[in-house]
């Protein structure tokens, strides 16, 4: 059955997290400070969002002195890219069942 990857969808369901992830994908590794300046919300808020992304496996953090540098894990996007394929398979099978039901309604 269609088990979508909740974490990835839920994490990216938030526009701020999507923005953070997008910046990291497009511009490479960045510190919380750099991301905070860019996105225009408080540093604790940025850290909290990065924590959610990290839990979903979408970013990784690397400690260097007082700073944590974050990097996007692009391969974690696979469930998002696969969702149409998975749902496609789901609907194919459900439409087979619908066809079967319609046949029985004829009798």
């Amino acid at each position: 059955m269609v088990q979508l990857h909740d974490d990835v969808f839920r994490s990216l369901g938030d526009p701020t997290r999507r923005g953070l992830f997008e910046f990291l994908c497009l511009d490479g590794e960045q510190t919380v400070t750099a991301l905070t300046e860019r996105i225009g919300i408080s540093q604790p808020a940025v850290s909290k969002h990065l924590g959610v992304l990290k839990q979903a496996g979408l970013v990784t953090g690397r400690q260097e002195g007082r700073h944590t540098h974050y990097t996007a894990r692009k391969e974690a996007l696979a469930p998002l890219i696969d969702w149409t394929q998975r749902m496609g398979g789901f609907w194919d099978s459900k439409l087979d069942d619908l066809e079967n039901l319609l046949g029985r309604m004829d009798q």
């Binding site: 969702w83 459900k94 439409l95």
Partner: protein, 136 residues
């Protein structure tokens, strides 16, 4: 929206049935018939009605968005963090019914402008094309 962006957003399925649109419509909108081919549910063909589809792996929350008997039906489909909309379009043909199902994801906040940032799903999925190509 680019082609890849579009592919990431929608599932399209089309079928031809020998039965009339009236019969196909019943299968799509009567609770006990829906349960037969899709899932257990508390569907009602009334715009604004909220219903739940029971899957083995959890529940799908839906709101009826549009009902045009024997022609068009649409409901939202929210499950596991995915916000999507399912639409059914029925067309009467010489030998039965042509049915088209479209499920579109990530539509809910596409108009949302967040502090001028480029974070709408639509834009994000378009940009994802770059990310995906990069990853390959």
């Amino acid at each position: 929206m680019t082609e890849v962006g579009m592919q990431l957003r929608s599932v399209v399925k089309e079928r031809r049935f020998a039965q009339s649109p009236e019969k196909v419509w019943r299968a799509l909108t009567q609770k006990y018939l829906i349960a037969d081919w899709l899932m257990a549910n508390d569907f009602k063909p009334e715009v604004g009605h909220r219903f739940v589809l029971d899957a083995e792996w959890g529940q799908i929350t839906c709101d009826v968005l549009a009902v045009e008997p024997q022609k068009f039906l649409s409901y939202s489909w929210q499950s596991q963090g995915l916000d999507s909309v399912v639409t059914w379009t029925l067309t009467s043909t010489a030998d039965g019914t042509h049915l088209k199902m479209v499920q579109t994801g990530f539509g809910a906040d596409q108009e949302l402008a967040y502090r001028g940032a480029t974070t709408g799903w639509t834009r994000f999925l378009d940009r994802l094309e770059v990310v995906v190509c990069d990853h390959d």
